[in-house]
């Protein structure tokens, strides 16, 4: 009995040691240091999984768990999002009623630019995600906005990601207003929500690659790089913020507004954390 007990005490101490916050810089505008946060998150995961290269985190949980990786690689042999990319390309190239098209709204005709989103828009004074930019493009050309979570917007986003594959994420925080948005996203990430009282970090930092029943939560490093994703559970393509809402429901909380300020700031923070990794969206997930 004593042996079991000391083993358990040992195990619980080991857990306490590994369940530490990865964020190293502060929680005020004066003390927060995005670059220090990003490096701290990388080193946290490198310490926990020393054999996994940082660049492999774009593959999410499949970077950490070999059996899941095998299943996933089989799925990727006939990528379930292939038709979505094709439809997305068609939608992207279809002219609006005024004769203009998406290519007119974006730098480089909208090709190979996924790595620059979300970006701080100084004129608007807010974070602009790729999906928000897509709908702003539509509305400024007299078209109706698309639904945020799935369908056409996800397909267009998937096509735009596919033209950006292997480009390195480079989210910029140019001034204090942008830094405040980053900080808000960081606070969202570490704040507990819902009846289950969990934060994003509970599962995707400390709890990453540890079983919740039969599921392994993925690491937050590289989380955003493969979105939008074709999720087997959805049986279709969905955006990152669709998943955010689903996560908040999972912890028995009230989902925040898709493409509202909170979610855009969260995406800003989360994508900054993956700066230096490559775009590999769209992806396939369980």
């Amino acid at each position: 009995m004593k042996i079991i007990k000391s083993m358990l005490v040992g195990a619980s101490l080991a857990l306490v040691a590994s369940v530490s916050h990865a964020a190293s810089s502060g929680n005020t505008l004066a003390t927060v240091d995005p670059e220090a946060d990003r490096l701290a998150l990388q080193s946290y995961f490198q310490k926990r999984f020393p054999k996994v290269a940082v660049s492999d985190y774009v593959n999410g949980i499949y970077a950490l768990d070999a059996p899941s990786r095998e299943q996933w690689q089989e799925i990727e042999e006939f990528p379930p999002y292939e038709f979505d990319i094709e439809e997305g390309e068609e939608l992207f190239n279809t002219a609006f009623a005024n004769g203009k098209s998406y290519a007119d709204c974006f730098a480089n005709g909208g090709e190979g630019i996924r790595q620059n989103f979300p970006r701080w828009d100084e004129a608007q004074g807010q974070v602009v995600t790729l999906e928000l930019a897509i709908n702003q493009c539509r509305e400024s050309n007299g078209e109706k906005a698309l639904g945020w979570k799935k369908g056409k917007i996800a397909k267009i986003s998937a096509y735009m990601a596919s033209t950006s594959r292997d480009n390195v994420f480079d989210v910029q925080i140019p001034n204090d207003a942008a830094k405040a948005a980053y900080l808000d996203g960081k606070q969202s990430f570490y704040a507990r929500r819902g009846q289950l009282n969990m934060s994003c970090a509970s599962c995707h930092v400390a709890g990453a690659n540890i079983l919740i029943r039969a599921d392994l939560p993925g690491p937050t490093l590289g989380h955003v790089t493969h979105f939008p994703v074709f999720r087997s559970k959805w049986g279709e393509l969905g955006t990152l913020q669709r998943r955010y809402g689903g996560c908040q429901k999972n912890v028995r909380g009230t989902p925040q507004k898709t493409q509202g300020e909170k979610f855009r700031n969260l995406e800003f923070f989360q994508t900054y954390m993956s700066n230096g990794l490559v775009v590999n969206g769209p992806g396939a997930r369980k």
Partner: protein
């Protein structure tokens, strides 16, 4: 380090307490109710994170420690109750939902769960 000292002090206290606190008798009905709560995804769903050596508790998660030797580890049922009520009191970083504080389980349900856990 200080945490360790506190932890050992608590363990010591728990052991001293063990000699004076006798376990309440739990009914078979309590144990069965507790088991159902342990496995029910919408209620306790303890199995999502904790292994327990019950043949019916298949495919457990391992976010939390295995639930073994519960009487030895928690000779004082009020300590176990407090842990289920709100594990973040003892460990602010715990992922464990505060089942009592957030009204996920009622007081009677937590007691039934304890009856079940003391079987292991």
């Amino acid at each position: 380090m200080r945490k360790n000292i506190i932890k050992h002090a608590l363990l010591g206290l728990a052991l001293i307490g063990a000699s004076s606190v006798t376990l309440a008798d739990y009914s078979a009905d309590d144990i069965a109710k507790g088991k159902a709560l342990y496995l029910n995804k919408k209620k306790g769903n303890c199995i999502a994170c904790h292994m327990i050596p019950d043949a019916d508790a298949k495919l457990p998660g391992n976010q939390g420690p295995p639930l073994l030797a519960m009487k030895a580890r928690f000779p004082d049922s009020t300590k176990l109750r407090a842990q289920i009520w709100d594990a973040t009191v003892r460990n602010p970083l715990s992922i464990m939902p505060p089942f009592g504080r957030h009204w996920i389980l009622s007081e009677a349900e937590i007691d039934a769960l304890i009856a079940y856990l003391y079987e292991y």
